[in-house]
């Protein structure tokens, strides 16, 4: 029993040190590393950047030329139109498109999708707003919708199931061909928006449906049947894992869909046109997706720890330009390299990829293996010299067995193991 307890103590000590020592190291050693903000100039037809270096920010273009603030704003008229308008420097038109202030304000689009939005703890209850009450402002309903293996409505104040409404919606879903249970759902449960887009729901087969509540009645339709003939096969092949719904004044983008193969799509217009966002390196679990749209272009950038990729689409969603850049990831900085050399492995319980806790190991470099080996050799030498001093005889085997946790700890944990050998109780 005592050997088991001691082994367990060493094992848990390793786990704890592998979590806390690197955390402490990074608490001391972290330097600010912000990825650049990517812009696209529609007048110069090239990418511009706002780069952070050591608490200052520099405005540059793709060739490395540095710009002053006014010059930078002049080259990016659609991003800084308010300042240019105030200064009287806003051009009347760009590429044939008239720049009217009202249109400029209306056409601004901004979406941000972070990995934690995709994989986060949630409750299966959400309010289904009535999109057509006849009132100017949207109002919160009095019930919550639960859409899982059935659809149900629960009245919040009384905490009672609304049977009639639930049955009505259940039959509407069945009639639309929805196969329960629902797998993915996305909507915007807020009244602070210009209109209500409703919810996009994927059923058990992965088919996408669009759900509205209109004057209390359900409106659920399979999107592939609403789409145009060219888009229909694309819709049927789509396997969504996340719907991002954010209503805008222009009502142009219904939703942004992320599918199983890390491909992002726009759903645009009355015919639910499915537009592929042509990013090549987007990993929805590790990168954040930012969409900035204006009167002339759509700029979509995917930013991760070690790379930035940006694509520019015109208003018809054709590809205009693309930019990729490798960033220095934290592991590649000098501090990161030192960490990977000292710490044979690191355990984190939180990660950017998810709102859930989990076990996220990271492994050190080959130098760490050498360090481990060196420490193990030192330890064996020390043990051997100690045993020579004590004449043990028959107890040799027992002691060797008792020292096994220590030896293993140093072999696997390197630095952690050495600390544990000194801190924890010795074998008898």
């Amino acid at each position: 029993m005592k050997n088991f307890a001691r082994t367990l103590l060493f094992a848990s000590g390793l786990v704890l040190l592998a979590h806390y020592l690197p955390a402490g190291y990074w608490l001391l050693a972290t330097k600010l590393r912000r990825p650049p903000i990517v812009y696209y100039s529609c007048t110069e037809k090239e990418f511009m950047f706002f780069r952070y270096t050591n608490l200052t920010a520099i405005r540059m273009d793709a060739h490395g030329k540095v710009y002053e603030r006014e010059e930078f704003e002049r080259i990016l008229p659609l991003d800084h139109w308010m300042q240019l308008l105030r200064d009287g420097k806003l051009p009347d038109a760009i590429g044939g498109v008239t720049l009217a202030p009202e249109a400029l304000r209306r056409e601004r689009l901004s979406f941000r999708i972070k990995p934690t939005m995709i994989d986060t703890p949630s409750v299966n209850l959400t309010p289904l707003l009535d999109a057509d009450t006849g009132r100017v402002r949207l109002e919160m309903p009095e019930d919550f919708m639960r859409l899982g293996s059935t659809i149900e409505f629960i009245h919040a104040q009384t905490n009672v199931l609304e049977r009639e409404k639930s049955a009505l919606y259940q039959s509407a879903f069945k009639a639309a061909g929805f196969v329960f249970p629902a797998t993915v759902m996305g909507g915007n449960p807020s009244t602070m928006k210009p209109y209500d887009e409703g919810y996009f729901v994927a059923d058990a087969t992965g088919a996408t449906f669009h759900l509205h509540q209109l004057r209390g009645k359900p409106d659920i339709r399979r999107v592939s049947s609403l789409a145009s003939p060219e888009d229909k096969p694309k819709w049927e092949a789509l396997k969504p894992i996340y719907f991002h719904v954010q209503e805008q004044d222009t009502r142009e983008v219904h939703t942004i869909i992320i599918d199983k193969s890390n491909q992002a799509w726009f759903v645009v217009g009355k015919n639910y046109r499915l537009v592929k966002i042509p990013l090549q390196r987007y990993d929805s679990a590790r990168m954040s997706l930012v969409v900035r749209g204006d009167l002339i272009n759509r700029l979509i950038s995917a930013t991760g720890d070690d790379s930035v990729e940006a694509v520019v689409l015109n208003r018809d969603y054709g590809l205009v330009d693309r930019y990729t850049e490798r960033l220095v990831s934290r592991a590649a900085t000098p501090a990161g390299k030192l960490a990977r050399a000292i710490f044979p492995f690191t355990l984190r319980f939180e990660d950017v990829s998810s709102g859930y806790l989990g076990v996220f190991p990271e492994y050190g470099s080959r130098i760490a293996l050498l360090v481990n080996g060196g420490l193990l050799a030192l330890m064996l030498v020390w043990l051997g010299s100690r045993r020579k001093k004590q004449k043990l005889g028959k107890q040799k085997a027992e002691i060797r067995c008792g020292m096994l946790p220590d030896i293993l700890a140093v072999a696997i944990g390197g630095v952690y193991g050495v600390a544990l050998v000194f801190l924890l109780p010795k074998a008898d």
Binding site: L27, L28, T30, K31, L32
Partner: protein, 223 residues
């Protein structure tokens, strides 16, 4: 006699005091490192704003520590005394009863202050190096109620422990919990500004409660 009693308490508690002192100091070092980390990753103005307008205090995790340490010190100092009713020995000394117990209390309060002060000074120095003097003043005004709460916790713990009958101990516990809650009511900073003198007086007055308990103990109630 005074010196001898204080020394006796020191010998009894020195190991625990060292642990408390180190733990508190290390925790304050950790808080300061976290503040340094925050300044490295964020705009300094954002951090100042967060304190001034949102009430994010970098030392807020230290809020309940004086309370905890006060309770722990009170328990560690007086639990052995009451377990074997050893307190009677002290009361038989050629000192007035009240004075003997008061000396014990003073020793405890003194050790408590000594254990917490270095960490506190470290936090203050850290505040002063990253923030302007208004914030430092703010820091002292915020920490003072928590510190007084620690004293109160110590005194009320002794009050509860020394009380001989179980029935009244429960009453003491309830009273202590209710009183201590008063020190930790604020959610934003500076809430206690206007009642601070009153709080100090209250804390000083709390010294009387353990003396009351020890009086009852010596009278022989509940044995």
């Amino acid at each position: 006699m005074f010196k001898a009693l204080v020394y006796k308490e020191w010998i009894k508690l020195r190991l625990y005091w060292t642990l408390m002192f180190l733990a508190h100091l290390l925790f304050c070092v950790y808080l300061c490192l976290q503040l340094r980390h925050a300044f490295k990753l964020h705009d300094a103005l954002a951090v100042w704003n967060n304190w001034a307008f949102k009430g994010y205090l970098f030392f807020k995790p230290a809020k309940n520590i004086p309370l905890l340490l006060g309770v722990v010190l009170g328990c560690l100092q007086f639990f052995p005394e009451i377990l074997n009713k050893k307190l009677r020995l002290v009361l038989h000394l050629p000192l007035a009863e009240d004075r003997a117990v008061a000396v014990h209390l003073l020793a405890g309060l003194f050790l408590f202050t000594l254990a917490l002060l270095p960490g506190l000074v470290l936090l203050a120095v850290c505040s002063a190096s990253y923030f302007p003097w208004e914030f430092l003043l703010n820091f002292w005004f915020i920490y003072l109620p928590w510190f007084l709460g620690g004293y109160a916790a110590y005194l009320l713990t002794v009050f509860t422990l020394v009380e001989p009958t179980w029935r009244l101990r429960v009453t003491c516990l309830l009273l202590s919990a209710a009183l201590l809650k008063l020190f930790y009511l604020d959610s934003f900073y500076d809430g206690w500004h206007r009642v601070l003198p009153g709080m100090v007086l209250l804390t000083v007055a709390l010294v009387l409660l353990p003396l009351l308990s020890s009086n009852r103990f010596s009278k022989g109630y509940g044995s």
